[in-house]
Amino acid sequence: MVIRVKLFAAMREFTGSDSLDIALPPGATVAQLRRQLATQWPQTQALLMRSAIAVNHDFANNDQVLQATDEVAVIPPVSGG
């Protein structure tokens, strides 16, 4: 399956894109998505380590299983306010 991952702030600037399409095996978890992102986009690795992954607008644990229809985003440490 292909997961479209939304990117924001420095994560977007590191890749030059506001989303990335990441190919993953069916039943892949958030942890696998993280590894795949870090492999394909090494420049995001340090920030990715400090970022959360959101699935359908909620923070997701690393063992959460992804569906092809999920809305997925990388959430760097937030700095609103």
């Binding site: 924001f8 400090r50 607008h57 937030v78 700095s79 609103g80 306010g81």
Partner: protein, 150 residues
């Protein structure tokens, strides 16, 4: 009531809106753009949100505040886009029957907003150089949600 807006925050109207004859206390918090963050001189801040998730988290914060305290009414408003030094980036207004409830509710709301709502700011220095703030420099700031989940 919660909202992400691109226009200046009219906190007077927000405060009037949360007042209620059943509530003897109103607390308003304003976050404003500071000239200095640590040693860094800031001239602008650019705020960006993951809007649908930010709105979901704001709704959750409002629901949790109403569950914990006897809120008359409340408003959570965050501004997005480019803000100059001194401008209001966020406003939280709550009314409660008594003052200690109003302070506790207002402080919880802004603390949780800064911890959970996917909004990011980029500091633009006088030389035009911009840097995303992904590690809070405030000594008072809570851990980011990312750190909590590791």
């Amino acid at each position: 009531m919660f909202r992400l807006i691109r226009e200046p925050i009219d906190y007077f109207t927000l405060t009037e809106a949360v007042r209620s004859p059943r509530c003897g206390a109103v607390v308003l918090f304003l976050g404003t753009v500071r000239e200095l963050t640590g040693q860094q001189v800031t001239v602008f801040l650019d705020y960006e949100a993951y809007a649908p998730m930010a709105e979901k988290k704001l709704a959750e914060i409002e629901a949790e505040v109403r569950r914990r305290w006897p809120i008359g009414d409340m408003a959570l408003v965050h501004r997005l886009g480019r803000l100059a030094v001194g401008e209001v980036s966020v406003a939280v207004a709550v009314s409660c029957p008594h003052r200690h409830e109003a302070f506790a509710a207002g402080q919880f709301a802004i603390d949780t907003l800064k911890e959970l709502v996917p909004i990011w700011k980029k500091e633009i220095a006088p030389d035009g150089h911009g840097e995303w703030v992904h590690q809070s420099v405030s000594t008072c700031a809570p851990r980011s949600p990312a750190e909590e989940q590791r």
